[in-house]
Symmetry: C2
Subunit: 314 residues, 2 copies
């Protein structure tokens, strides 16, 4: 069996893979190569190098392992028609992402930007307000693997968690869960609004200016899902009008965020350059998931960890 | 009965107190007044305006309520000889302090200083390492009310917690607890070393340069107790030699930290100007504790919430 990596992993990780699966032929390339593509049964990719044509070339491919969580750039229809199994490393982002979200929330509440600024100026300044996270209510759009981990951590800080998903079915570590059509009724309750929604037809521009007017003045909005959740101009308007207290943005409509974007200079905005899911432990964890899945695959199992519905986009 | 406040609280808080206890005479002064002192049975103070002479004047005082947690500046011996009950608002610092400690830890792990700096420069920069808190081991010096709350939060982040106290008796939310004489054996285990120790004869200069050499290179040291835990010169030497990764300091040998202190400029130091226990909810909470205690006091109970052993200093 041939497993084709369209990227070149760290030597120690490659070595451990080759040692653990002596019966498999592993091909590692820095870029995608049509000849190799035509021969591979399993494809390992970051999910940004495939299109319909590549899928046609990859005639033998039965499983694509995506070493990231986003699959927006993949040719969904072509993959679905061929019945190719797609799985990703969804769970891998859970811990680092949730820790980043808590870091930003606590930093704002406990005045860390103020502390850092005064240190730069060598100023002993105690004149600021420090707030507490405990006792808040958080609205979590997309209480999936990451959202539930965020909910678990928030609950440890005595935060009341309300999940919002398609079905309204209860989700782990949510005190309540509601369906998306209840969104407008729920927004006024939120001290914190966190989105970890993927980009789908349903979530694109889900929020607009009006939604922000329904939030409390002191609400903190965090977008850690995808940048097209809200039009940047709507968000800027809401922030300029102080409809909310602060926005922490890890994702943007255009990335990198253009140098002339107003967002850079706004005092009530934190610009995180889409790094919140990163971790020094990322690749090790990807490989652990891949190895478990490859073992299953070779045993003829097809119900892999993080198996995705490519047409639904998650 | 006369209750004398040596500070002037917010009008709404005073009003609610007077309404709840119509049988009590409340005196509120901005400074300490000897005539009032001589008449009061209960004294409410921030703990920094009393000396032996004042205690001698306060002949009728049987209970001192300290609306802060530090009692270093109080005349311990004189108070003990008179058998005056002393209680403070110890528990009140628990939540804000623990949230500050977690804020700083997560901020360092998740690269928030890097993110803020790049935003100032309007630079989209992803070139940094992000680490995770989960999986770490934290050594907590002083697992009391605050330390245990820190332990509870750390455990929610899958951090292994080791408490170190006088007796070695187990403390809440500590995976292990040891006595102080085991300190040198424990230091090499710590990814994080947190002190919340009060200033006592036993804790003064408890840590010296040698202790820092026993810590891991990547260890984060957090002093949120008192500044005389370690000589500043020892700490600076350890930091210059990169014996540890970072120090987050909320307390200092001299406060405010002098403008010419080397600490201000060190890249591996965070200077928090002794504000980590502050909270917008502080006074409300103090008053809640005081009201509960006053009710007990009027019922003849003397075993008050947060009753202190003034000679031991905690």
């Amino acid at each position: 069996m041939r497993v084709y990596f369209t990227f070149d992993p760290r030597p120690d990780l490659k070595e451990s893979l080759v040692n653990d699966f002596p019966e498999v032929d592993f091909i590692f390339h820095k870029t995608i190569d049509d000849k190799e593509l035509a021969k591979a049964e399993v494809l390992v990719t970051y999910g940004e190098d495939l299109d319909e044509e590549k899928i046609n070339i990859a005639k033998k491919v039965k499983w694509i392992f995506v070493a990231s969580s986003g699959i927006e750039k993949m040719p969904h229809q072509a993959i679905a028609e061929r019945g190719i199994v797609v799985s990703n490393v969804r769970g891998i982002h859970k811990k680092p992402m949730a820790e980043s979200i808590l870091a930003h929330l606590l930093s704002i509440k406990r005045a860390l930007p103020f502390i850092y600024k005064n240190q730069q100026e060598k100023t002993w300044n105690q004149k600021t307000k420090l707030y507490e996270l405990n006792g808040s209510t958080a609205l979590i759009l997309g209480p999936g693997a990451i959202g539930s981990e965020v909910g678990r951590m928030l609950q440890a800080f005595d935060v009341y968690t309300i999940g919002v998903n398609r079905s309204g079915e209860s989700a782990p570590y949510m005190n309540e869960t509601h369906s998306m059509d209840k969104l407008k009724e729920l927004l006024p309750k939120a001290d914190i609004l966190i989105s970890i929604l993927p980009s789908t037809v349903e979530t694109r521009y889900l929020l607009n200016y009006e939604h922000f007017t329904l939030l409390k003045d002191h609400c903190i909005f965090m977008n850690f899902g995808r940048g097209d959740l809200v039009k940047t101009e709507d968000l800027i308007r809401a922030l300029e009008e102080k409809q909310i207290f602060h926005a922490v943005l890890d994702v943007f409509e255009t990335e990198p965020l253009p140098g002339d974007s107003k967002l850079w200079e706004m005092e009530n905005v934190t610009i995180s350059p889409h790094i919140s899911s990163r971790s020094s432990r990322y690749l090790e964890r990807s490989f652990e998931i891949f190895k478990r899945s490859l073992r299953k695959w070779m045993n003829g199992e097809r119900n892999l960890e993080n198996k995705m519905d490519i047409l639904k986009g998650y």
